[in-house]
């Protein structure tokens, strides 16, 4: 509504000309919610924020590298670095926004100790998430991992598995559904939330914030200092976002900015 009114006065028409469009690729809620949340704020600054929702976790980076979008918001820095390495890209982190508190959930068990010998633990089947899930389990001493031989840990890096857990890798899309099927599931809050689960009250184990896996706003080397990107970063680390996260995503998405 207000934009239309702006256009009526000549002075602001000029401003309209300067109006830049900023394209941000993202994946799912709460990432998409945050982008939506800052839209009006950026509009006031003459930035037309356009969100592009993509369906897998390679395309947002490919699109960014190809300059089809100006920034993306869906990943943590290690994942981005791996993309840079493998694809000769120069994506750069702008600012971390929140920690997606990775956790282990089980339908029939209250604590990790109750999990019986040989239980099936489901995790996502893409390499970075396998790495992260195994690291979470190792962090709590459930399993022991050897030296990292490749970029990522894989199941073959497990050198000790005292309770003989079986690890089932399934697609991200299926992860939440495995809550009924497997004995335990390792997943991000984004996937746990629809089940009504939160890291705070339901997770047997969580990752906390002592890690590198904060979901980060990412741009490119060539535009990282540009005004719109900086304004976006500013908006995304504003108190409103913090309030939004704390109100709606208590411990599911822990703000990662000051």
């Amino acid at each position: 509504g207000s934009k239309d009114k702006d256009a009526e006065t000549p002075a602001k028409v000029q401003k309209e000309d300067e109006k830049v469009t900023l394209k941000v690729a993202s994946l799912i809620s709460p990432m998409t919610d945050i982008v939506e949340l800052v839209k009006p704020k950026l509009a006031e600054e003459g930035i037309d924020l356009e969100m592009v929702v993509l369906g897998d976790n390679v395309q947002p980076n490919s699109a960014l590298a190809a300059k089809e979008v100006d920034a993306n918001f869906f990943q943590h820095v290690p994942y981005m670095e791996e993309f840079n390495r493998s694809n000769d890209a120069n994506l750069v982190p702008i600012t971390p926004i929140y920690f997606a508190n990775y956790g282990v959930y089980a339908k029939d068990f209250k604590t990790m100790d109750e999990l019986p010998e040989g239980a099936v633990i489901a995790m996502a089947n893409d390499v970075s998430n396998i790495d992260r899930s195994l690291a979470l389990l190792a962090q709590h001493g459930i399993i022991e991992l050897g030296e990292k031989t490749d970029t990522y840990y894989t199941k073959s890096d497990i050198i000790d598995n005292p309770k003989n857990y079986k690890f089932e890798e399934v697609d991200l899309l299926m992860l939440a559904r495995m809550y009924d099927d497997a004995d335990a599931v390792v997943m991000t809050p984004a996937y746990a939330a629809p089940l009504g689960l939160t890291p705070k009250s339901d997770a047997l184990l969580t990752e906390g914030i002592e890690n590198d896996f904060a979901i980060t706003l990412v741009a490119r080397e060539d535009n990282k200092d540009s005004e719109p990107i900086q304004k976006l970063a500013e908006a995304m680390t504003s108190p409103e976002v913090r309030q939004f996260l704390e109100e709606n995503y208590d411990e599911t998405a822990i703000p990662a900015f000051e």
Binding site: A25, I28, S29, V52, V53, L54, G55, D56, V58, Q59, S62, A63, A66, E68, V69, L173, A176, P194, L195
Partner: protein, 220 residues
Amino acid sequence: MPEILIQYKTEIWQSIAETFAMVGVSILAAILVGLPVGTLLFLCRKGQVFENPYIFSIVNLLVNVIRSFPFLLLVVFLIPFTRLVIGTAIGTAAATVPLSIIAIAHYSRLVEQSLLDVPKGVMEAAVSMGASVREIIFKFLYVEARSGLVLGLTTSIISFISYSTIMGVVGGGGIGDFAIRYGYQQFKTDLMMYMILIMVILVQLIQFTGTTVSRMIDKR
């Protein structure tokens, strides 16, 4: 109308529009390119009027290569090409490129098969009247095979709709993607079911139209 549908009205309409756009372009590609390619496959076969083992092998291989790509990887693989054609590799317009290519490969096989069922005698009549290859195709082959061509196109269109649901990967959108994103990933099961219902109705309509038309034009 259920509340959830009203709530997401804009998005639903948009996703329907996206599906129509993607499938519409695929249909065009299937007809404008898939039909000729399938015809070429048929005509270059052993014993046909345009017999040519080289062209046949090359086109046949090409179609097979396209059909053997995992669809997701085809989409990825085609990104440079898509960018060249559309100017961008993401969004509904960009999604039409891989969809069209798969549509061409898919329909051309069904065309080839339909043409193989045209009685030899009809081809002979055409040849004996001195018909050019072009005339054989348009005045005889397509006329005699038309009901099969329509049914094949119907089958293909339904496959295109199914393929289009994967185009969320590059931001293609569409009803199927909407159902997956909102309905499935966000556990809005009722919304998902409504979306699927829309797809079922759409497919049923297409099938009904296809079957009816193909029966109406079949005078054999």
